[in-house]
């Protein structure tokens, strides 16, 4: 094991058994416990959102009305799937769970800068989730985008749902703010900016977007509320408002938000690949600058969601050109990951498998994005299954796979146990095969002209839809399997994890597994960046 680890002493006490009882969890200010609180919450909503996805896929398995007789119900299903998955699962997804758990450990701090604020943001998140729960009494049918003017007129509980989204956004802002201050002020001695792990850089870029983009959508949703409650006439065309302005303001946040989802996943992949390739991360600084560049560019491309929504030709051209710019830093990252693996001594452990899958899936996501950024093709692809497939390749193939990879990679650190590697690999196969089976046919469906958000379709789309539904169920079984495998290992696992099972050089592995309440028994001293690999891996298959 690693020479720097100070695990020989202090056996027994760690953050999990430092205090006991439900109350100690609900009042904890320990970033590791708050990370776990977030993890349990988001996985609950992942499950709920997944149920709605499978309900939709079941309806779409055959042409004609099967389980859904009323098209309005289908509108509710895709709205709830979107709201649950976006606002409650994947936006807090990696930053609030893995970020909370890992950030202070990785920079050698005892906690985040404002521990009580951190707990407070979890409670705000829970309040937002409860509000969204109450909105289910009359579930909204606007789609997760709440587009005006329909959202002004829809009879469903848009008010409660947008208020919930506002509250959830506030939680996101406070988390981001906390992370920025933590990274600026609480780095361990010797932890200079260019010795930070790339996950920290990814989290930093994410935190900047969280803090500075979320208020925009918050205010936009408040204006929508004012419009509905008082009729101020900001978005309502009957009162001289411009509904396209809502789309502008909405996407000003909601495009950067996809980078909130995926930038931390980039960071996760950047951590996993060097460890399992036993090679230094290729072009560390390029990866770092690419993260920052993606965060910057994300603010100036939003109107590519609106090419056919009534914006002017000039604006469409400008935003199309700007959108192509995203490809550059993203491609830099992909090349860096692949170059890191080149001639490496690769171990195909589960986290590494997910990381490689991530690179493949994200490349498909990126290249199909080019078609959507191109004006002429987007007119054709807009609002078809092509967009649905592209989006799910970025978000599920990117962010969700990134989260699952992170859960497997840091599971020994979080739980102090090892999971069953064989079962985890079977789950991996199910996830990846199921995912591609679900969404590759949807590219074809989109090109053939199948519009999204319909509960029924002409018989010629039958075969591909059926394949897609089968894939969705395999995908769902895969995720359930993977998470149950981890849960089982955490609860009943017999194999104790060593401090550094994967022989990583990053700081969080230099403390015991699970870490003590105070993270480190002695303040760590940092002398190098965390990717100075060059030795063969002594990783054993548990």
């Amino acid at each position: 094991m690693n020479a720097h680890s100070d695990t020989a002493h202090h056996e027994g006490k760690n953050y999990l058994n430092h205090e006991r009882g439900l109350w100690s969890w609900l009042t904890t200010t320990d970033h590791k416990r708050i990370g776990l609180l977030y993890l349990y919450s988001i996985l609950t909503f992942f499950l709920a959102g997944g149920v709605f996805a499978l309900l939709m896929r079941t309806e779409l398995a055959r042409a004609g009305a099967d389980i859904i007789q009323n098209p309005e119900v289908y509108n509710v299903y895709f709205t709830l799937h979107g709201v649950l998955m976006i606002f409650m699962f994947i936006v807090p997804g990696i930053p609030a769970t893995m970020g909370n758990f890992l950030l202070p450990l990785m920079i050698g701090a005892k906690d985040v800068a404002f521990p009580r604020l951190n707990l407070f943001s979890w409670y705000i998140y829970v309040i937002g989730a409860v509000m969204a729960g109450f909105a289910l009494i009359h579930p909204p049918d606007t789609g997760w985008t709440f587009y005006a003017p329909y959202s002004i007129k829809s009879g469903s509980s848009v008010v409660l749902m947008t208020a919930a989204a506002f509250v959830l956004g506030f939680s996101s802002i406070l988390t981001g703010l906390n992370f920025i201050v933590t990274i600026h002020k609480l780095r361990a001695p010797g932890m200079t900016w260019f010795r930070l792990p790339v996950f920290v850089w990814g989290t930093y870029a994410t935190a900047v977007i969280q803090t500075l983009a979320t208020p925009v959508v918050g205010m936009t949703l408040v204006l929508l509320l004012m419009e509905r409650v008082m009729g101020v006439g900001v978005f309502n065309p009957d009162l001289g408002g411009d509904p396209v302005l809502f789309e502008h303001l909405f996407w000003f946040y909601s495009h950067p938000v996809v980078y909130i989802m995926v930038l931390p996943a980039f960071g996760v992949i950047g951590e996993i690949i060097p460890v399992f390739s036993r090679k230094p991360l290729f072009g560390y600084k390029a990866v770092v600058f690419a993260s920052v560049a993606i965060a910057g560019v994300s603010f100036i491309v939003w109107a590519h969601h609106m090419f056919v929504a009534g914006i002017s030709d000039t604006a469409a051209k400008v935003f199309s050109i700007l959108t192509f710019g995203v490809a550059i830093p993203t491609a830099v990252k992909v090349f860096n990951w692949v170059s890191t693996m080149y001639k490496g001594s690769i171990t195909f452990a589960t986290p590494m498998l997910y990381a490689i899958a991530f690179v493949f899936l994200f490349m498909i996501a990126g290249t199909t994005g080019i078609y959507l950024a191109t004006l002429a093709t987007d007119v054709f692809y807009h609002d078809t299954y092509f967009v649905v497939a592209h989006f799910h390749y970025t978000i599920q193939g990117g962010a969700v796979i990134g989260l699952i990879a992170a859960l497997h990679f840091w599971f020994p650190k979080m739980s102090g146990k090892m999971y069953n590697e064989t079962l985890a690999k079977i789950a991996f196969v199910l996830v990846v095969v199921g995912f591609n089976l679900t969404f590759l046919p949807q590219f074809v469906l989109g090109m053939e002209g199948m519009p999204r958000r319909y509960y029924d379709y002409p018989p010629e789309f039958q075969t591909l839809h059926t394949i897609s539904t089968i894939g969705a169920f395999i995908n769902g079984i895969g995720y359930t399997w993977a998470l149950l495998n981890l849960a089982f290992a955490a609860l009943f696992g017999k194999v104790k994890a060593p401090a550094n099972p994967f022989n990583s050089l990053s700081l969080e592995w230099q403390t015991s597994s699970p870490p003590p309440h105070e993270n480190f028994h002695t303040v760590p001293e940092v002398t190098d960046y965390p990717y100075a690999y060059g030795r063969p891996l002594s990783y054993e298959n548990h």
Binding site: A109, K110, D111, A113, F114, P115, L117, I173, L177, N178, I180, V181, H184, K185, L186, T211, L212, A213, T214, P215, V216, G218, M219, T220, V222, L223, M226, M230, G231, V232, G233, V234, L239, G240, G241, D242, L245, L249, E518
Partner: protein, 211 residues
Amino acid sequence: MSHASAQPLKGPPHIHHMDSVTAYHAAKLGMWLFLATEILLFAVLFTAFAIYRWYNLEEFHAGSHHLNWILGMTNTAVLLFSSFTAALAVDAGQKGNNKAVVKLVGVTIACGAIFLIIKYFEYSSKYHHGYFPGQANYLEFKNFLGLYYCMTGLHALHVIIGMGLLTWVLLKAKKDRFSHDYYTPVEIGALYWHLVDLIWIYLFPLLYLVG
């Protein structure tokens, strides 16, 4: 570190994960970041204002002349003065003069109250003349008035939150909590209050004068 004694009456509170100087700078950076989010909250309204003004220039001019600029200017002066007293409160905090902090923060809160009272008279006069959303005359200047209510309403909400924050500071100062090495709450509260002033500096000419 292992003293069982209660919180010290003066000096920085003990925090387990960083020293007090870092804690001060962390709190200040955190507050500035929060102010950045507040600026972006208002940025949406400024953007909407800019675009609707471009669409309906005449309506915005006419609507602007409908507002009472004398009341607006009075409120500007009130807020500028309150910002001045808030800045002096921080100065008093830096010198550990808790009595002065109580007085100056008290004056700041009072200025906030005066601002809200004047605002209340402006709103109620608008309401009586039928310029509220849903009322008869509202459609005359609908885009202008819609944004006027959203902007000033959100600003007034910030005044109220700021007064709450400063009340918390005032109570701490009454307990003689601040000293030359610990005055973070005064500084944080004052920063928030200055933001309220900053926003109004833009709202006043935008809404009352130029339109």
